[in-house]
């Protein structure tokens, strides 16, 4: 399975973040290894999305170090950030597709912006990416507002992998999807990860997603990581907060489901 390399792809060390007087992160540390699907889990408002925004450089922590591909992103200048950003793809919670562009144009945008490939080849690559995410090719000429929620997520994923990134960030990838679409999306993420050799860092509170897809999970409560490990390890953790999360009725159901032969 995952080939662990000596250097982690993402390395978060002792990050502290405050908004005004409220403390969002009180010393968060974690690392994402090459080739794994790492999930950041926790209740709403525990600071996991903020941490993701800090890792992809949309926000700055007050203190601490975040290294991606071995390069520090805290206090990074714009030019260096740009070269880093070409190496990762981001799927935002609500897709964030550009409403004025068709799906094919959305997917082609990073290619046009960052490479000098000619238009025909860009269109061809975009069509392949759209097909890889399981969208019918008829969807390519549609505008995001004409797509269903699940299709929009897939189109956004196609844009995230447009530049063949090594690292993919997923923010609540299954939020707002019906169970069937969510299951389909889970399978897609795993499939793409294997086929394209991606490493993935995702933020989620979807227990099914954690059980089925994540290799390792960090569990966050009020700005602190209270447990890191595989789901099997976390599910037997003695930490009271972790127990509460995984042994609630929904947690149990998701776990039982995960143990059934699939």
């Amino acid at each position: 399975m995952a080939v662990t390399s000596p250097r982690p792809l993402v390395e978060v060390r002792d990050v502290h973040t405050r908004f005004g007087r409220s403390i969002v992160h009180a010393g968060v540390s974690l690392e994402v290894r090459e080739g794994e699907i790492f999930a950041l889990a926790g209740a709403s408002g525990c600071g996991k999305s903020t941490l993701l925004r800090e890792i992809i450089g949309l926000q700055q922590p007050q203190r601490g170090s975040i290294r991606v591909f071995g390069r520090e992103v805290v206090g990074i200048d714009d030019e260096a950030a740009l070269s880093l950003r070409r190496d990762w793809g981001v799927l935002f919670e609500r897709g964030a597709l550009f409403g004025s562009l068709t799906v094919a144009e959305n997917v082609g945008l990073p290619l046009r912006e960052h490479t000098d490939l000619d238009d025909a080849l860009v269109d061809e690559i975009a069509a392949v990416k759209i097909a890889l995410t399981g969208l019918p090719s008829g969807a390519a000429s549609k505008y995001p507002s004409e797509l269903s929620g699940g299709m929009r997520k897939r189109a956004a994923l196609a844009r995230a992998i447009a530049l063949d990134p090594r690292l993919l960030f997923l923010d609540e990838p299954t939020a707002g999807l019906d169970p069937l679409s969510a299951t389909g999306f889970e399978a897609l993420v795993r499939h793409l990860k294997e086929a394209l050799g991606l490493s993935i860092l995702m933020v989620t509170h979807d227990l099914d997603l954690l059980w089925h897809v994540a290799d390792r999970v960090a569990f966050m409560v009020e700005g602190r990581i209270v447990g890191i490990g595989t789901m099997e390890e976390l599910s037997v953790s003695e930490q009271p907060l972790v127990r509460e999360y995984f042994h609630g009725p929904r947690g149990r159901a998701a776990r039982e489901q995960a143990w059934k032969p699939r």
Binding site: L121, L132, P136, D164, R166, A195
Partner: protein, 375 residues
């Protein structure tokens, strides 16, 4: 790093006999020169029997697309030429890409002809006008129902809208009409002075401002300030499904959102017009004094004789009509918003353009009608 980039071997190809040998990193960042080189090189035109991909050190989906494109171009009799020597992991990627494309049976929509697009645009315009008419009718029905039971009139939003659309617009409306009065007096001054008819500047400014310019200018400012705001507010509420939420709790959106705006604007716009009249005439009076040596008392005296009550009423009478046009068009465009933020921006623009257009057209119709009636 698992996939070396700039430091990796450069992507390229070489023609050896009838075999095209590919080498280097065929990744999205590296293949742009390869693609151009291939189009220029003789390889694209000569007979190539096989493609040897054993020199490819790294491959991603973009590389796969280019490789397949080259293979398709070099092949003959409708068959792509053979690609051999791929590493196992690269072969897996190629078949992954191919499998994804095979699964997809649906064909893309064919581009439409110019005639079809013209027809579609015309049809959309016709439907749009029909919908505006429908909206006007709906508003009228709701308005009659509300007037039948006056207790249902929502005074708070009306007063709020009078403040935002009327009172808050006082500075800008006043300033612009004051300047307009100055401009008219100034332009008239040179002409009138030639005939020694200095005093008639009062007629010029008074009639022009009261009958035409004050109502028109005020309506245009309000269309830009408030009509756009109505479209944006209702449009955003539509995007966030607040309009649907209103319907589900049993409140008619038109009663809550549209009617108060129309009533408020019908109150505010005539008042604004009176205010604009005063400042426009004041501007003209100031200019008459400094340019034509017409004293303030003389000016006002002449003004009183030049103007009839009907001149004032004609101007003020147009204002509620303009108000209804602006409010109805702004609200209608808000309800026409579909989908996303992009649509809100588009509809807001349309609301302003259309409101100003209809205001000016209506003003022209009024002029013709008043002329025919001799008012």
């Amino acid at each position: 790093m698992s996939r070396p980039r700039a430091e990796g071997p450069r992507a390229g190809f070489a023609l050896e006999g009838d075999v095209l040998r590919c080498r280097g990193d065929w990744t999205v960042r590296e293949i742009a020169p390869v693609e151009r080189e291939f189009e220029r090189s003789e390889a694209s035109r000569s007979r190539v029997s096989a493609i040897d991909a054993s020199g490819i050190s790294a491959l991603d989906t973009a590389g796969v697309v280019l490789l397949r494109r080259i293979a398709a171009k070099l092949g003959h009799d409708g068959r792509a030429s053979e690609v051999s020597g791929l590493r196992p992991e690269h072969r897996a990627l190629v078949s992954f890409v191919e499998s994804a494309e095979r699964e997809d049976g649906e064909s893309a929509e064919a581009p439409r002809s110019a005639l079809e697009r013209v027809g579609e645009a015309a049809w959309r315009a016709a439907i749009g006008s029909g919908r505006l008419l429908g909206f006007v009718g709906e508003v009228a029905v709701v308005a009659l129902r509300t007037l039948a039971s006056p207790s249902r009139i929502r005074w708070r939003p009306i007063l709020f809208n009078v403040r935002t659309a009327g009172f808050d617009a006082l500075p800008i409306t006043g300033l612009l009409c004051f300047l307009m009065g100055i401009v008219i007096a100034y332009q008239g001054a040179t002409q009138l002075e030639r005939y020694g008819a200095n005093i008639f500047v009062a007629d010029l400014v008074g009639l022009a401002m009261l009958r035409e310019l004050s109502p028109l200018l005020t309506a245009i400012i309000v269309a830009g300030r408030s009509g756009s705001a109505y479209a944006a507010q209702i449009g955003t509420m539509k995007v966030t499904e607040e309009i649907d939420a209103l319907r589900t709790v049993g409140i008619a959106p038109i009663e809550l959102l549209v009617l108060p705006k129309i009533l408020a604007l019908s109150i505010a716009l005539p008042l604004l017009t009176v205010y604009a009249d005063v400042l426009g005439v004041a501007g003209g009076m100031l200019m008459a004094h400094s340019e034509l040596d017409v004293g303030y008392a003389d000016f006002l005296d002449r003004l009183q004789r030049a103007l009839r009550l009907s001149d004032f009423l004609v101007g003020i009478g147009k204002a509620p009509i303009f108000a209804a046009i602006i409010a109805v068009i702004g609200c209608h465009q808000g309800f026409e918003v579909a989908g996303d933020a992009e649509s809100v921006g588009h509809r807001t623009t349309v609301s302003v353009v259309r409101a100003i257009f209809f205001v000016i057209v209506t003003d022209a119709l009024f002029s013709v009608a008043f002329n025919a009636l001799g008012i």
